[in-house]
Amino acid sequence: MVSGLTVNERQRALVVLAFLAILGMAMTAFGAARGDLLQMHGFVVLLFSLIVLAPVLKGYFAPEPPAERLDDYYDDPIKVGIILAMIWAVFGMGIGDWVAWLLAFPDMTFDAAWSSFGRLRPVHTTGVIFGFGGSALIATSFHVMQRTSRARLADQFSPWFVLIGYQLFCILAVSGYFIGITQSKEYAEPEWYADIWLVVVWVVYLLLYLRTLARRKEPHIYVANWYYLAFILVVAILHIVNNLAVPASFAGVKSYSAFSGVQDAMTQWWYGHNAVAFFLTAGFLGMLYYYLPKRAERPIYSYRMSIVGFWGITFFYMWAGSHHLHYTALPDWVQTLGMTFSLMLLIPSWIAAGNALATLNGAWHRVRDDATLRFMMMAAIFYGLSTFEGSFMAIRPVNALSHYTDWTVAHVHAGVLGWDALITFGAFYALVPWLWKRERMYSPVLVEVHFWLALAGTLIYVFAMWNSGIIQGLMWRTYNDSGTLTYSFLDSMIAMHPYYIARAIGGLLFLTGTLIACYNIWMTIRRPGPRAVPVGDTPLPLPANPQPAE
């Protein structure tokens, strides 16, 4: 991998790693002087830079790569990104299933601070959303931007900086929760220095995207790229505004949010809901809009639906965050706006999902025979279902019942398991043979097994949480004949026990599927297929792209 970089690029890598190592040492020194946890994170940064340094030094004295490489796509970072995403998937889902069991059997853990539910829970959410989802988005975006532009990445250094730099952010985040570093903002827990680092990585990512688009040999920017662009741009806005904070000291980890109370609540859920919108939806719609038509070998059903869906999602989603705050101290007018726009949001969401499903017309026999395409089809269905459920739950009286209960958890997991994870696995099963130049995946049967495990796991999980959530919500508001509350909070908690066990079993099935995917991907990489020719990937000079149909 490193031998594919020019000597100049290897030197740039060394400079960045040296800077990181020095930064790590400085953080350790300042943190130690103050007796602050920052010293631990300084050590993590130092260790990270040394680990990345090893392969760079190993390949440093290799000869310059041949100039012919510039005639082809640059796929090395995509390969590494896929492997990293799968490692994060196993880690994040593994922790997720552990905490699921903890809710049924609370003492199934160590008698230590790091392993308590409260610290493990953000490890799970960050591990799957940012570790797995983020790495998958970065990897697939590098692939999609090159193929749809029919141009090579603008340079070889930036993609590595983005991918590896992003890993540092995720590692700082996750290691921080274990040792007690968090700013407690849901889905934005990392502290100020990790947040600043992510901004640096993100700016390089945006510039790389725009520079690669500028080299494109297609006059039009394909719809998948609109979604990836929206993902990069809007996540940047959300991340910066939501994380505005004043550190207690530059030698310490702790910072205090610039906002408080009701303004902070609105800002956090504006961020939180749009992290769902632009991280977990827009980015993955980018995946859907490329890999589904490619795998089905059908053009996108409607160009106009693509446009309406994209701009509708970009505009309406940003209003919807306040539906997380119904009946709270947030002023009514904001709650009403949030509810109204959440309902309108269903229109572009279903346009996007319908456009994907209609693309499969004429290819349904492939859906039947090809589990990879079925992953993508099922993802589009779950996307449609969870967006419907989301709009429904944003209605104030419905939310009165569903809020604070497991129904929310059911909704989120229908989205992330059924939609985000399934489309990612579908994309990976398509990508891996293309990138490693194999005829097909090592075992199509295992892809099939994975599909049914993932689907069964998702359904068991979601049904268990629907049941527990609705029962919980009803028990909290049940009155007896004398006009007093029938159930204590504890009664409702005891009633959850069987559902928590069912949920953990569903999660275990899903995790098992992910482990099978890892094995299948690994064997595909290791064993050369009978025919070492990539089938289906878009070659540089030939116009074989899925173009939006007029």
Binding site: D107, L229, V246
Partner: protein
């Protein structure tokens, strides 16, 4: 309309700018007015600030992820008010940077838990919840009792909070470390602490041990102040709504 788009999608920078503009509108309209409309947050001239010990406890509450299972926001629904007490007002979390309203009730709401249980109950419950509530699924936090509270730099925390709008005085900042220790040591000189933070300040050995100041002291002190910084929610709305 589609013709215009046909042209826009050929220019990456135009597309990028359009995305930023279209995506910014919702947030601007919903968030910016919350800072400028006076009625958004009720006024309470008697609102107290967290003492350094309570603030340290709040930071432990955040560190341990308590907010993931406990909300601090009683909604304006009859059953919630009957179960937990008067619905939460915006002013009550005015000094909360960040707010901890929460989004999930795996355990009950804690917005008004202050004073509801004794210190001994909280300590025993945190050490092993199942000793007190056999069916509880809450994690054990016995390590808090053994962990000495880090108080050396609490002044920095107060100063940072003042920069984002919490009215801590110079005197409070200068005495933060001493005040944190004093609040958990009832036999020490606590006159300065009470003078700075008010007569209602609770001074006790919260974890039952008056010789050391532990993380358990801080967390229990914080839990016991929840819902008590302001009495606005208990007074008729006419008095609090208008200045």
């Amino acid at each position: 309309m589609f013709g215009t788009h046909y042209r826009i999608e050929r220019k990456s920078v135009v597309l990028a700018v359009a995305i930023m503009v279209v995506a910014s509108i919702g947030g601007l309209i919903e968030i910016a007015p919350l800072f400028t409309i006076d009625e958004t947050v009720e006024t309470d001239p008697n609102m107290r600030v967290y003492t350094p010990l309570e603030l340290a406890g709040r930071n432990i509450y955040m560190r341990e992820g308590c907010y993931a299972c406990h909300s601090q926001m009683i909604r304006t629904l009859r059953d919630e008010v009957e179960r937990y007490g008067p619905y939460s007002l915006a002013v009550e979390s005015k000094y909360d940077h960040p707010m901890l309203w929460g989004s999930k009730r795996t355990g009950p709401d804690l917005a008004r838990v202050g004073g509801k249980y004794s210190d001994q109950w909280h300590t025993a419950h945190l050490v092993n919840p199942r000793d007190v509530v056999p069916e509880s699924i809450m994690p054990r936090y016995s390590f808090l009792r053994a962990a000495p509270l880090q108080t050396a730099h609490l002044g920095d925390d107060l100063r940072a909070l003042r920069r984002v709008g919490v009215p801590y005085t110079d005197e409070m900042i200068a005495n933060a470390t001493a005040d944190a220790a004093a609040q958990a040591s009832p036999e020490d000189d606590t006159a300065g602490l009470v003078k700075r933070y008010g007569d209602a300040t609770q001074v006790r050995a919260f974890d039952g041990n008056k010789d050391t100041v532990t993380e358990m002291d801080a967390l229990v002190a914080y839990l016991q102040i929840l819902g008590k910084l302001s009495s606005a929610a208990h007074t008729p709305p006419v008095q609090t709504a208008q200045k």
